[in-house]
């Protein structure tokens, strides 16, 4: 999985572990190289555009939004987004409530909708402080939440996965789903940012 940049660099500990484990599994006939490549390809296909599609649909279709908040997994299936082995809970931001997501135990993340988590999401700093002083952490992301808005932090400790349904930006009346989806950033679906301004 190394990108050859024309210069030799020794493998890091985890790279070496990955190569050793993969070669062993292939050698023992547990998986094939083709299966490993296909799985990696699938992982690369999962990007935050999937989540943005869900959010944009919820913004334009009130009944879809209701179904999404009731059962996130089933609502995603309606859009052809399969979320196997994942119970998705969508949480809605309003003027009264701002939601944000963290996993203090490891790095549970709605990969099927947002892809591979950013480095900071897995950092000890974010994981330990987001539950302890969310307002200070959000301020470091450039997001200032008024005292009158409740902050609801979701620690995804077990089998659920969370996605934030951000507030639709003002000035986007009549916009198409595609145009709206382009405003929805990964960070706004984690709850550490708001969507782009139109």
């Amino acid at each position: 999985m190394n990108e050859d940049q024309g210069s030799y660099r020794p493998l890091s500990y985890f790279q070496l572990m990955e190569v050793s484990l993969r070669e062993l599994l292939v050698e023992k006939g547990i998986v094939t190289e083709e299966q490993v490549s296909a799985t990696l390809e699938d992982m690369r296909k999962r990007t935050p555009e999937r989540g943005a599609k869900v959010v944009a649909r919820a913004w334009v279709d009130a009944s879809f939004k209701k179904r999404l908040l009731e059962n996130g997994t089933r609502a995603c299936e309606e859009l052809g987004l399969d979320v196997p082995a994942l119970k998705l809970v969508a949480v809605e931001n309003t003027r009264e409530v701002h939601n944000a997501i963290v996993c203090t135990l490891c790095s549970c993340y709605p990969r099927m909708l947002l892809g591979i988590p950013p480095e900071w999401y897995k950092s000890r700093n974010y994981r330990s402080r987001m539950v302890r002083e969310p307002r200070a952490v959000l301020a470091e992301f450039g997001l200032s939440i008024p005292e009158t808005t409740q902050i609801r932090v979701h620690d995804s400790t077990a089998d659920m996965r969370y996605i934030v349904l951000p507030m639709r930006p003002a000035g986007t009346e009549g916009w198409s789903e595609e145009r709206l989806a382009a405003l929805v950033t990964r960070d706004s679906m984690i709850g550490v940012a708001v969507p782009k301004a139109p």
Binding site: L105, A136, I151, R152, A158, D159, M160
Partner: protein, 82 residues
């Protein structure tokens, strides 16, 4: 919440043990992760709850609004009546 510190693979964060909250929803029932980690089947599935805690109750010196909350998934065997 139980204030227990068993060894092994536990999905209940340290910071929430011994705290009091209210059940926000029932998430369903899932194989017990503490058993799964020991290569056992984790059956029968254990009911999983989303429990809501007031930040002020979790961190006495919490700096934000008194209305701020924290929600954590907790397996039934970690709950006791408040």
């Amino acid at each position: 919440m139980l204030k227990a510190y068993p060894l092994g693979h536990v999905r209940t964060p340290f910071y929430i043990r011994g705290c009091t909250g209210t059940i926000e929803r029932v998430c369903g029932a899932f194989p017990n992760p503490e058993e799964l980690a020991q290569m056992r089947d984790g059956l029968p599935p254990v009911p999983l709850y989303r429990v809501r805690f007031a930040q002020k109750d979790v961190w006495p010196d919490y700096a934000g609004s008194a209305a701020d909350v924290l929600e954590v998934e907790i397996f039934q065997h970690w709950l006791e009546k408040a």
